[in-house]
Amino acid sequence: MSDAPEPLLLERRIETGEDAYIDRITADGTVWTGGNVAATLEDGDLSFERSEPSEPRWTRQATLQAAPLEALRRSIADSGFFSTPAEHHPDTPVIHASREVWTAELDGRRHTSTLHARGTTTAEPLSTLAAALESALAATDTG
């Protein structure tokens, strides 16, 4: 298994079956994508590349500037994530739904929380983190 970049600030891992797609930002503001499924677009044609689940690949995408990096840290700290339960389940079981695994590390604390049945289940601290992650990614968007 290739090692995940460290030290971690925030990671969102989306899992569907054996496929995982990961957005990961390290403490220094480096933005990575990873997992065992990657998509490419060439002349409008979408294609997917898969590797074994045990062999996630990491690609460095960008680096956050100081301001958006600090904004992301503040959002994580204010989100209530470190006190959210480790598991969020739907009210009733959803057969083979996707899930979302969030991990954050800040000020010496590290916590992981899993949202089962992504798209059906919601948890406020995780929704806050999702918005913060998107803001950070948008800040690196040079397109």
């Binding site: 989306i14 995982a20 994508t33 499924v37 998509a39 057969i95 739904a97």
Partner: protein
Amino acid sequence: MMTPMEHEAERVNAERVAVEAAPVAAPVAELAVAPSDPARGSALNRATVVALQRSAGNAAVARMLLRQPVVAPPALTNSPQEAFDTARKERETFIAAGKKGPQTYNPSATNKDNYYGGFDVEYDPAKAELLVMLKGAVLFLAGMSIDPAGRAQAIEPSAQTAAAAAAINRLPKAARAAEVAKWTWSSAGGPDSSDETDLLTGFKSSVEAAWRKKHPFHCTKEYWRDLGATTELKVDVAKVAAAGGKAGDQHMLVNTYKVAKGFIGGAADVSRPGGKAAGAFGNVMNITSEDVTARKDELLHRDLSFQPGKGLLTPGSVGTVWRLAKEMPNAAPGSTIEAAGLTVRVQGKDARQRRDRFDAVLDHLKQGGGVDPSRAKFEDGGEGEGGHVTVGTGDAQTVAAHESGHMFGLDDEYTGAGAYGAGKKTEHTDIAAAAGHTGAMHATSDNIMSEGNVVRPQHYVTFLDALKQVTAMADWDYGATQKVDPPSGVGDFPVPGTPGGGADPGTAVV
């Protein structure tokens, strides 16, 4: 000293005693004797005669009959013929009464492990047809959107769509809208003009084709065994503008996310918000626009490679074989459900090397997961250094057909973490076992509830249960109808223990 006449009289009397005491296998009802006439002794009815002939032989019975009164006996009653006539009349009445149902079937009502699914069922005895009806309200949803900042946002919740959105966001902003539009239904401005119609027709045809007419049922009632039930499917799905538009008689809301053509993956699931209490009409299915055609991700296939010039697998392929082996446990001893087989196509420089390489794959299947070598079949792949493993038929699954299996009350059979561990029971294992199909488990296979498209008998267990419910008759089982003949009459039954007479039951009659 007896005279010949006295001797014969005693012999005949002994035969009579023996015949009357002879054990018979026929049901008690068939041995009922007509009301006796005190003046003439007991009269024998037709059933008794037949039973006695079968057990004692017709010669002894014939002699006994000679001793019976020569006058007309009382009317025969409770004969096999009467039982046959009564049963056939009841059967005809049952058929003439017309269709049974329609009735709603809730899998949770009979399977304590179930918490999803629902369908309607109707039985037409004249056509010998069990009609399973599944109704759904289809809500067309975009799989992706573009935000005011010009960034693609995944809506469809899978890992693959998240990866696709990231790929789109690596494009220049000006190029993104056109890509995101491919994740939008035509009614909302997407480029695929007939996509909604294609989805509705594809859903209906793929589910009906996958599930119809796979395993016949027959009635097990005496003299009704020529009454059958062939399962037909009728899927009705219609567009709704909002989730609230689902009608009360529709079993499911089908959230259908538009994805770009060629998309592989996506989240597909079934749930029943509210659980068991929500009933047969409270289900939600999530699929994508690509889920009504065969999957393209080759779930039942594994490529292999061998070390050049050697009989050994490469380290990567060893891992591939071991992972597969762990997902394919052997059937538990005594199971009626067989584990899937594997076809191993092997390349090599000559026949001997190909055989050596096949043996290497067998060894790793055994080491990796204890796979019984008899489950694997060799296929000569000619010259080369590669190989390929196909699980079962290898045919691709259509996701909508698999998800509809959940609507029919069936659990997944593929493997995963926790309760999906290879070899573990599914939520339909017990109900299938009660119907005679034992050993349903989580395993990689070509089953429709695993990773293939084969509907096996255990997958018809809720249809059988629904048939029993809608006909208010428990006498149904798997299998084709059987010919029903009227009971045979008095005939020529040789003495047991003699040629053509079957085994001697051990009576005193010779």
